[in-house]
């Protein structure tokens, strides 16, 4: 009876996995071997390694890297500061709330803020400065992306910092370590798991951002996501679109492995 009901409870999970995870990935892999006429071919893969798509991949990685670095630089100190406040949950909530608002809506708001006649430029002219082109630049793209990813980076880092035993920090201080050494030798190693989780939640989606590239960067920044969208919706070359998607999946797996939480190693260090 026990096992029977347990198997039964597993059914929705398996169904979900098969229908919405395994099957789509298999289909993507399958389609990547067909050209636009529906003939079996490896040309899509060949095409991927020819100039355009390779530099596209590199630039996607570069932007995703920048976005992740800036997000981390803001998120870590913020998360640290939140753990020191009295109203932790309240502050955390205030940071989470914006992520409940529709992404498109927030993006449109930034068009208004960054525009030639937007709030920032109005302030600039008020201060007697010249109007600046902010929208459709690399800066605006990275700024908006960082803004969007911050909550996803703060959450895991906050959890890790919050779990950190303050006794360890006190001990380190008592034993004569400077603030910097305490951070480097105690706090950082114990929270690096949270940082890795945050990087996963930022870097991987940043590789395939596509709406912000158009609305905020005016398509001057092209990511793998934009290229996939184009291949499916405009060119109708499902084969090429799938091939790019296959590489995106491969890159994601690599990143997952690199940033994976190596449970054993982490715990051992924690046990010292």
């Amino acid at each position: 009876m026990e096992t029977k009901s347990r198997t039964f409870l597993m059914v929705p999970y398996y169904l979900w996995m098969v229908l919405f995870v395994v099957a789509p990935i298999a289909l993507v892999g399958y389609y990547s071997f067909f050209d636009i006429q529906g003939n079996f071919t490896l040309a899509n893969y060949q095409n991927f390694f020819s100039g355009t798509y390779l530099s596209l991949t590199l630039s996607s990685f570069w932007y995703a890297f920048l976005i992740t670095v800036f997000t981390l630089l803001i998120a870590y100190p913020t998360a640290y500061w939140i753990t020191k406040t009295k109203q932790k949950q309240l502050w955390l909530l205030l940071i989470i709330i914006p992520s409940w608002i529709n992404l498109l809506l927030k993006t449109y708001a930034f068009i208004g803020i960054f525009g030639m006649n937007g709030s920032i430029n109005n302030v600039l002219t008020f201060l007697g400065l010249e109007r600046q082109q902010i929208l459709y630049t690399d800066f605006s793209f990275i700024f908006v992306s960082v803004y969007i990813f911050i909550p996803f980076m703060i959450l895991p880092i906050f959890n890790a910092l919050d779990k950190l035993n303050p006794g360890l920090v006190d001990a380190s201080n008592d034993l004569g370590a400077s603030q910097w050494v305490t951070f480097r030798k105690v706090i950082w190693p114990l929270t690096v798991g949270g940082v890795k989780a945050g990087i996963q939640a930022t870097f991987i989606p940043a590789l395939s951002l596509f709406m912000i590239t158009r609305l905020i960067a005016g398509n001057k920044v092209i990511t793998l996501g934009t290229a996939i969208e184009q291949q499916f919706l405009v060119t109708q070359n499902w084969g090429m679109g799938s091939t790019i998607a296959v590489f995106l999946i491969v890159f994601m797996v690599i990143i997952m492995i690199l940033t994976g939480d190596r449970e054993k190693g982490g715990n051992q260090r924690g046990n010292y």
Binding site: T7, Y14, Q37, I111, R214, I222, T235, Q236
Partner: protein, 359 residues
């Protein structure tokens, strides 16, 4: 093993349920089809008042859905999930749909109002004898510009967009055929060129324009130009009309080297469940008064000569939007280039977009 069998059984049951729901849904939509039609049109491309009026006059209920590209429309009609009765694709897409046998022939005897259409727009190469399509709107591709933000530049030639004074001023529409077409026209080539050397030359020419490009965006162009955010944009004539409706400073010109002339047409796709109702709807839209009201609302150029007589002569006499036949001779209609060549256009367009990040 046992769990595998169970998984398979569960999968089969789920598939059966989904299948049942699907057939039920299809049946319910077909049972209602005698007094409903589903119209599939571009966004903002009809006066909603006219839909209400059609419903009142004929008692046929209209389900209205919109698309934002010919390709998206094609995909939905190919899938056949919804019973679209009337759709409004552009000419090159009609050629393609004809090839794929996705269209139902139109019975012209049921369209007495067809005589309102200017014969110039009938019997065009993409659909000889209007077997499958009836003209809805037409227009051009050109340059919308805001003279108050510029030092008196005008745009008689595409080459004017390459002028070094226009750094970061030009907005392009995110369409491979429009942007590549501009590159081809500048060099004096046909915008239906399938010659790879010509296309590569056009791409290189476009790359030189890189520093002038502010952004490559979609429908947001209209808002961006209205707000005076950008000075110059490559647009469809109707977008220009939309922009000018709000911001009167803006002007529109079709460069002398030539440009694209396009036609959107009403068709009845194979998915239709109410062919009779579809004909009624098309005939209604061809009515002089209806077409005039619609053209006023939408801002594109109507092929309906009876409607033009009812409209403000200031609008219909404006050669920017109603170019004379002589002017139209410089313009070219898109041909369906086939998936491979279209792929090449998109590949090169992507290359152009990529090049902008390097400068």
């Amino acid at each position: 093993m046992k769990s595998l069998v169970q998984t398979i059984i569960v999968l089969l049951v789920a598939v059966a349920i989904l299948f049942y729901v699907n057939t039920q849904l299809n049946e319910s939509s077909s049972s209602a089809s005698s007094d409903t039609i589903t119209v599939f049109n571009w966004g903002e491309y009809i006066d909603p008042e006219l839909v209400d009026r059609f419903e009142q006059e004929t008692g046929i209920r209209v389900i209205y859905e919109t698309f934002d590209s010919n390709e998206a429309m094609l995909t939905k009609i190919q899938q056949g999930g919804t019973r679209y009765d009337v759709a409004m694709p552009s000419e090159y897409m009609i050629e393609k749909m004809k090839e794929e046998e996705l269209l139902i022939p139109i019975d012209q005897s049921k369209l007495p109002n067809l005589q309102n259409i200017d014969p110039y727009f009938l019997d065009l190469p993409f659909d000889p004898g209007n077997q499958y399509s009836i003209p809805y709107f037409w227009g051009t591709v050109g340059i919308a510009f805001n003279p108050t933000l510029l030092d008196g530049q005008t745009f008689e030639s595409w080459n004017d967009l390459w002028s070094p004074e226009l750094k970061q001023e030009v907005i392009l529409v995110d369409g491979a055929r429009e942007v590549m077409g501009m590159g081809l026209n500048t060099l004096g080539y046909s915008l239906n060129s399938t010659d790879e050397t010509e296309l590569r030359a056009a791409t290189d020419r476009l790359k030189e324009m890189g520093p002038n490009v502010k952004a490559i965006i979609g429908d947001e162009i209209v808002e961006t130009m209205r707000r005076g955010e950008a000075a110059i944009a490559l647009v469809w004539s109707g977008q220009a009309a939309d922009i000018m409706y709000v911001n009167e400073d803006i002007d529109y010109s079709v460069p002398e080297e030539g440009s694209n002339l396009w036609f959107d047409n009403m068709i009845i796709p194979k998915t239709a469940g109410n062919v009779e109702g579809a004909h009624k709807f098309i005939n209604f839209m061809l009515d002089a008064e209806v077409a005039a009201q619609n053209a006023d609302y939408v801002g594109y150029s109507t092929p309906n000569s009876a409607a033009i007589e009812l409209m403000d002569p200031e609008v219909t006499g404006d050669t920017r939007f109603y170019p004379t036949e002589e002017m139209r001779e410089r313009l070219e209609v898109y041909q369906n280039l086939g998936p491979e060549k279209l792929g090449l256009y998109n590949e090169l367009f992507l290359e152009f977009k990529m090049s902008m990040n390097q400068n």
